[in-house]
Symmetry: C2
Subunit: 339 residues, 2 copies
């Protein structure tokens, strides 16, 4: 069973290659091809399972119908979920996904952008590390649709979808204050990314207004979780006055809970907790953990819609859309009223 070509099926059916091509591309009507022929061809194609080579088509048309998805790590539950939702919607429109994990590494990301570029992907969905402004701007200048999400780059003028990080952090911190906590820490990954800056700012805002002191720990992300857990333990031990902590990301929260478990700290008696991102672990933790839930479905939907819109728009133009979505504070027992 060797690979069929358009030529083959034209020969088999005793018709012209051109006709087959038109039918394949749904331009039969426009080209005034009889419904009878169309039917015959479609039936035959169905029968022998013919599929035109999308690679040849891609070379000819310049379109690959592939979307490049670049995230920090595809194994991160947040990104994995987004990836899944995007895959679904893209699939319906005939697009496939090539994904890459950037590790939030600037150089790796630059290289990956080139790789996707040489593969002629039609559009990009990027959760960018810092420092790739130039490369992304080149992409845009070359007419490629690009949508950023989770964070954005101020110097890149293109669509993005993010959440209201500053408000969310401020709101959560205020909530802890309202519950009676006064020495509230903020533990997050060190990052110059917009979303982390926003979270930090919101946290500081809330404390400043009430005149309380911030306690911040920025951990370096490492694949070795134990190291991060230890860092958090050290921080908690060094700051015994802390009575609450806000985690800036789900992995930070997860490491934090492990640290607290190892230190045998009780939640919320010894330490109240709120974390960004909702996750099973927060629901199932001994004391269920209050979480700042991102509207994941909505984010994914917005991201892929924006991209598909640009992909459809022949003219490529259109205003830059900056979407900022709201989060939801899912209150659980970990942020109960201070004893």
């Amino acid at each position: 069973m060797k690979k069929l070509r358009i030529k083959d099926i034209a020969k088999d059916l005793n018709i012209s290659k051109t006709a087959v091509s038109f039918i394949l591309n749904g331009r039969a009507q426009e080209k005034r091809i009889s419904g009878e022929l169309v039917e015959r061809v479609e039936k035959y194609i169905q029968e022998v399972g013919f599929r035109p080579s999308s690679i040849a088509r891609g070379l000819r048309t310049g379109k690959s119908h592939i979307i490049g998805l670049m995230v920090e790590s595809i194994s991160d539950p947040f990104f994995a979920t987004i990836a899944r939702l995007i895959e679904n919607e893209a699939y319906k429109e005939g697009y496939r996904i090539i994904y890459c994990s950037t590790d939030n590494d600037t150089e790796k990301t630059k290289e990956l952008i080139n790789v996707l570029r040489e593969r002629n992907v039609d559009g990009y969905i990027i959760s960018p590390p810092p420092g790739v402004e130039k490369e992304i701007n080149e992409l845009i200048k070359a007419g490629m649709p690009v949508v950023m999400f989770d964070r954005y780059l101020a110097k890149v003028k293109t669509d993005y979808v993010v959440i209201d990080n500053e408000f969310s952090a401020e709101n959560a911190t205020r909530y802890l204050l309202k519950q009676g906590y006064r020495n509230i820490g903020f533990i997050t990954f060190s990052s110059t990314l917009t979303q982390m800056k926003g979270r930090m700012k919101g946290y500081r805002n809330a404390l400043r207004e009430e005149g309380w002191k911030p306690y911040v720990l920025e951990i370096d992300f490492t694949p070795d979780e134990k190291v991060m857990v230890q860092t958090i333990k050290d921080f908690l031990v060094a700051n015994p006055k802390l009575d609450a902590v806000l985690f800036g990301a789900v992995q930070a929260g997860s490491c934090g809970l492990k640290a607290m478990t190892q230190l045998k700290m009780k939640v919320p008696q010894d330490l109240a907790v709120i974390s960004f991102d909702d996750h099973d672990i927060f629901e199932l933790f001994a004391t269920p953990v209050t979480a700042i839930a991102q509207p994941i479905e909505k984010i994914a939907h917005k991201v892929i819609s924006l991209l598909l819109d640009r992909l459809d728009a022949e003219n490529g133009a259109g205003d830059v859309k900056e979407i900022i979505l709201k989060t939801r504070l899912k209150v659980r027992a970990s942020s109960g009223v201070k004893a």
Copy 2:
């Protein structure tokens, strides 16, 4: 800044297209091209950031340097982690990944195989649903390398990497028996897949030998977790004699823990627990949960190595490799000695 072609850079450098092509493909030595020229070309390519179109190359050579990865769902933490590890190793060898989620749906998977096929992917990594034997066999007959993992299809003769499901389940069940539990349930997703069959068999074996009665719940997977949690709650309520339960998969375990939490059951006093797959939630649950940990890194490594081996082997031949890896029972408090 428009797209460069080989022709352009040949012209710019006043040399032949052929030479550039050879240099690009590392065949300079073989073609006796002077090191001086090679250097000059490479420098220029570097400078202008030229990248040959991999799509044109693909059309010409029939190789796309893309690997198709099909899993049940890319958002499943097990598969997401595997995907990440595979991506890393594949990347080093110059391969990219296109991924698809099958939802374990036979028809969707058939369609996806065709999609990947028309994209000329060079190799397939598949965690197959049942019923796609014919399609995969056609792939193999067409000379495509295919590696299955997590489960395999008996009627498909190709490499696969799985864990020793039967032994793992039997071992875990025995452990519960040893700890004094007698009425041990098995809760899993209904599935005709080899891995689930193996787990079921191991569970039954252990009980049969000791003469205890099995209690099995097979839940239908639905994206709506609440439904599954409710099913488990009903089962637990209907079987008050149960003193322990083995979960056949991480999602089953996670739903089960939610069900037990809602029923205010104490672990392990009311119900001892062991689950397949290790995960943060098991480590962080109020009573840490004993887990049957799969060697994820090893699985990913084996899978991609097998595929790369076949990709390298011009002849495509070679014996079918069937890799069965061992799991590790990570004992935690949820399976403590029966009170």
